[in-house]
Subunit: 199 residues, 4 copies
DNA sequence: TATGAATGAGTATTCATTCAT
DNA sequence: GATGAATGAATACTCATTCAT
């Protein structure tokens, strides 16, 4: 990646996340990047390819924590109970969101309008992550730490809660003073009690 | 609203929700609506005004359930416990989402890119709804039915869960066979147990 | 055809014939036509469509003299001998070339680069004209007025000579003083003697 | 000429003859030649110069058979009658066309759009060749082997016929099975009889 | 000598918007 | 009120050409 290429990507991320893909013009990106418009197209055949070059690698990183070979072993070794497991992924994804927020924003906005992006997401992300996540859910259900609900339902409830936190934290109220550790505690407790086996 | 106007709005909703506002062209809307291009601009000064004419009324409807004068009285009269309250708004918003799904989709996609829309939302929706919602939360906290967390946190946890359900239902997996009543039960129980005062 | 549309076509003919299709820009055409660039594309979806709208009707006119139903009857009734037949088509095509010279020029230059144009030409023009032409050749061969060569060879020799005349007249030396009747006489005599049955 | 330069010229000939000069891009030529884009411009200052470097030498070769010093002597010594003369140039130009067909095609397509090319052609080719050709025509007229027509007219009739043959052979129907010797015979006989002094 | 990244003017085409009918 | 022809600025993208390496 040349120096100019990096500048192009940075400018594109900034502008895409601010105005959306369709609302951004390559001329504006070129200007912000300080390069000629033609330079963009030397590196990326189309505007869309530029978008993909930004968004695709993010997808890979998104699923990184689940891309371990022997997931069951990791579960057993590292996470004696659900709480620690949930806390780990929450903190981990919080940092991920903090770092890649603009790209994630672009991704979430564009995915409904680009069937190819959606397909790629389903194939790589969804299948891998869901498989692992369901495994984890059943793992903790078997240990009596989670209520016996269908895995997809459990998954939905957990995901909603964590995503809801991230959206509130970075999208809706990024400027509020956040006591992050406390909010994380509350969020995780909410999940734990919400999904605890009914006595 | 003339017959043509209705067709324009219908076409616009369809196309905006499919391609996004910036990705849609007025000529395409005119074509789908079966009117001349100029006709759109006779009724709406700009493309943006057409968007607002679609999205703004939806906002009003969105907050309708909270736009009652004596909210406390309603709470006391109609909802003896949290469960019935939560169930009522969940079912109610589920129907709302089912009915206005495309418009809601447009709204959620465009709000980050239109500061005026965002402002309008904050002023009308957020303030009114939040005020009422916080009131309800404190109401049930006072009755010992909800754990004593800050209202915004409680609000976030409830909203995440309900929105998560709606998103899963209509956006992510609209084609799956949904046993809606069961899923609603599980969702509400999740919230109730998650927010029950710790014994 | 609106007034502007006529101006666009006129300008396009002029510029295409001067610089070739690929060497002409739509902006230049718009300027010469005195219309906005967008106006061109309201009437013709693409630059290529503009080209076709110019060139296609010419093809139809080109074959007009051969598009008679009962060609044999026409031959028998109107042309007692080859000479009169040849003279008729030569004069006729001369006038045609004089009238449509720029369009013919465009056509001949572009046909090698547009397979669709070539195909259309083969289907409509070539098949119809060749069929009729071969019929005429055999007609006059049967009457002993033309040497017994294969029709395609005879056709080639006649066509070369007439086209050669038209090219010299309009393309190579348009500015020379031409004694047209005399040159036509010489040209036709050349063909007649060249194809007379050897005694 | 370096190895790369040869490849550039070969690629350029191929692409120019396929798409026309204006329709070809230097990048495509570079790609097909297997060199960097810049390399083309190291050898040829502009795209046009590349065209000229291809087309100009062909012009010289085109007139080669006429570029003999004592043309009259050659006529007397080598060609006892018109037939042999015509046959010689026909066969000779046939081979030339076979060998340089793509370049000839480029040349004929571009000459109307490049005044400088046209000028160069008129100066070198036309004047020299015409002078010699007229000399030959008058030579054979004086010997009673050609009808007494103005030399330009005679020249036109001969040239049309031979070019017509070449065009049919290589451009219009290159894939047909050609019995070349027979067609040459017919073509030359056509000219001979067409231009024989009327008895 | 050859490269290929970089340029910026230029390309065909689309767009939201206007306006005479 | 409705039309659709007309606009011209803007769009994504291509081009011939330059130049530092």
């Amino acid at each position: 990646m040349t120096d100019k290429q990096i500048k192009i990507v940075q400018a594109a991320v900034e502008i895409f996340s601010e105005k959306g893909f369709a609302g951004s013009s390559t001329s504006e990106i070129a200007q912000k990047a300080g390069v000629a418009e033609g330079t963009i197209f030397r590196h990326y055949k189309t505007k869309k390819e530029l978008l993909l070059s930004i968004v695709a690698p993010m997808m890979t990183k998104l699923i990184a924590p689940f891309a371990v070979k022997d997931f069951t072993k990791v579960l057993e070794a590292d996470y004696p109970d659900v709480e620690q497991f949930l806390r780990a992924i929450t903190v981990n994804r919080l940092e991920f969101a903090r770092k890649h927020f603009p790209v994630i924003k672009i991704f979430m906005h564009e995915i409904p309008f680009h069937p190819d992006l959606r397909e790629q997401f389903k194939e790589t992300v969804a299948s891998l992550v869901l498989e692992k996540a369901y495994k984890a859910i059943r793992h903790f259900q078997a240990r009596g730490q989670l209520i016996e609900l269908p895995a997809p339902t459990t998954m939905r409830l957990i995901t909603s809660t964590i995503f809801g936190f991230l959206i509130a934290r970075f999208l809706l109220l990024p400027d509020r003073e956040w006591n992050e550790t406390e909010e994380i505690d509350r969020t995780i407790n909410f999940i734990l009690y919400g999904l605890a086996p009914r006595s």
